[in-house]
Symmetry: C2
Subunit: 214 residues, 2 copies
């Protein structure tokens, strides 16, 4: 039996829209959804196949094992999320006040806790599983490092006198607020509490837009 990767799929980042590759992408998307709302504990090959509307046999063709599928799904998620985070912080750099910065971060977290909740839950499923699987841990580390560098640059532009520590704090606050509010339905007062916490954090760290001007 032949496996994909022998011809066009051979490059490091396979194009997923070629013949057959569409299915591979659909499988990974389905897996991310299932992980988000049933957890890794509820993730079965059959559940993925059903979610993707594909026969069970298709999964074995594109992925050697379930663990391989999980790894590729995680990689896909981090690739996608990197863009989202980058976009969120790109808007920040042009902000004039600490409140504007906090507002961007509030919107980012709010989106994760509402429309993108499934995706956010999947992310933490992966992070926890990373403590047990070295292959996932490598992805986590690379992902976290990229984040910290990006946020560090932003902090630098906002006038931080210790960008490395500030990015560590900001990333921790974001992750912590997400985790702490995941098991609660997100009502307006909670969103306000998150906004207040972010404002105070940004303000007290002395971060403000256009710091390079004066």
């Amino acid at each position: 039996m032949s496996r994909p990767g022998g011809s066009a799929q051979q490059r490091d980042t396979p194009v997923l829209t070629e013949r057959g590759g569409v299915r591979k992408a659909a499988i990974l998307e389905a897996a991310l959804r299932v992980i988000g709302d049933k957890g890794l504990a509820g993730l079965s090959m059959r559940a993925i196949a059903a979610e993707a509307g594909l026969p069970l046999g298709a999964l074995g063709y594109y992925f050697k094992t379930k663990d391989d599928l999980i790894l590729e799904a995680f990689e896909l998620h981090t690739r996608r999320e990197a863009d989202r985070v980058l976009a969120a912080f790109a808007g920040v750099e042009n902000g004039d006040h600490a409140d504007d910065i906090a507002e961007h971060l509030t919107a980012f977290i709010h989106h994760g806790l509402t429309e993108a909740r499934t995706s956010l839950v999947a992310e933490y499923e992966f992070l926890i599983e990373s403590t047990r699987r070295p292959d996932l841990a490598r992805v986590s580390r690379a992902w976290r490092q990229a984040l910290q560098i990006q946020v560090g640059h932003v902090a630098s532009r906002l006038g931080s006198d210790d960008p490395e520590t500030d990015s560590e704090i900001i990333l921790a606050v974001i992750a912590g607020l997400e985790i702490d509010h995941l098991s609660t339905p997100l009502d307006p007062s909670t969103t306000q509490a998150i906004r207040t916490a972010l404002r105070r954090t940004i303000t007290r760290l002395g971060l403000r837009g256009n710091a390079a001007r004066h």
Copy 2:
């Protein structure tokens, strides 16, 4: 077939050291260990029985279903952890400088990431699963609320002008630092980064011991 709870086990918080109750406690302890190092996905009744050194049949006697067992294990964990957190912050109140406070928190996180790593991983497994199970979510909410109140009191004593927000920030930073460093082996430089982040957070929030004296 009779179930426990018909006699001495009937009270709300059953004493686990009575006849047979020793076994129930052993099962919950075993479950917490298995969840910590195999995850909820790797948690099976057989794995718990093996970890506890008990026959499979024993589990069905003390717990109606696997989900019941998981719920009780979570409750046990939060009860235990509440004491630990309380102790960590009790030491804080007598500290004189922001650095002392940060040091307490650093030690707390360090302990979680090293000796108590299994327990910490289990905690986040529970938190994520809480997004899917209302019964676990209730425990999470109560647990988080208790934490915030306690930390709020501490922040108050340390001179905070907004204890509620400060406790939200501090809890988020702690959770975030834990999550962000779970998939990486904890080396001394990482510990130092955590300490630095905590010092800066506490300092910038204007928290200091003996604030009531001045």
